[in-house]
């Protein structure tokens, strides 16, 4: 097993574990840290599976996108910003 395959195995196992924790957690806001772990594992897997310069951008775009989604979900659940001024 090469270091790359070992790393991919670790990322894959953690991604599945995080997905199960997201599904089992009843509190929506507390799902998000588990979803964060899932995003890390998937972004890492993208770079490990496709070692091409563009995949740095793909992994970063995926990661920033999922972070922005979590940010939006959390802020909406928290009531959002009051913009009526």
């Amino acid at each position: 097993m090469t270091p790359q395959e070992a790393a991919l195995a670790v990322c894959g196992i953690i991604a599945v574990y995080a997905a199960v924790r997201v599904a089992l957690e009843p509190d929506t806001l507390r799902k998000l840290p588990f979803f964060n772990v899932l995003s890390f594992a998937v972004a890492g897997s993208i770079a490990l599976i496709i070692p091409h310069p563009l995949s740095i951008i793909a992994a970063a775009a995926y990661f920033v996108g999922s972070t922005l989604e979590s940010n939006a979900i959390a802020s909406t659940y928290a009531g959002g910003l009051d913009r009526r001024e």
Partner: protein, 165 residues
Amino acid sequence: MDISLLAFAHILVAAAVCWLNFIVIDVFFRLPEAGGVVGATAIGKHIEKGGGALHGGYMMGNIVSSPDASAGTLLAACGVFIAGIPGGLLAALLVYIGNRICHDPGYAGTTGCLTATFIISGFTLIGFSPAEFIAGMVIAILTIQGISHRHSSRLLSTLWRVRRG
């Protein structure tokens, strides 16, 4: 030693290095002080309601809501794995853009990405593969965000008290 066992041993060392890199930078940049956006504050309060500590919860909320030093470390590892130090610097630029997209005024992510780039490049000189740092960072974030929010938030709050003095 068997090559795969060596790879897993390297991954554990890499996890410890990544953990220290992102925790030191995040705590230095005052992530546990308060939620950077409304959502991060709400996550911190929910973690406190679940038996955790408030300031650790804020830091976990901030990690969720914007690319911080942990994301910087992960993307630096991806960049160095694919294209060496220039790849890590490209990752730092992408983290900087990501911070601005997520309405984050701080520089924890960019700083973490730059320090991680040079740390990981240094470790490749002594036989580590950058791929092991990708897996290491995933394990490091798992210990904070993915096992027990109650215990990890308390640990982060303790570190915040030390930082604040």
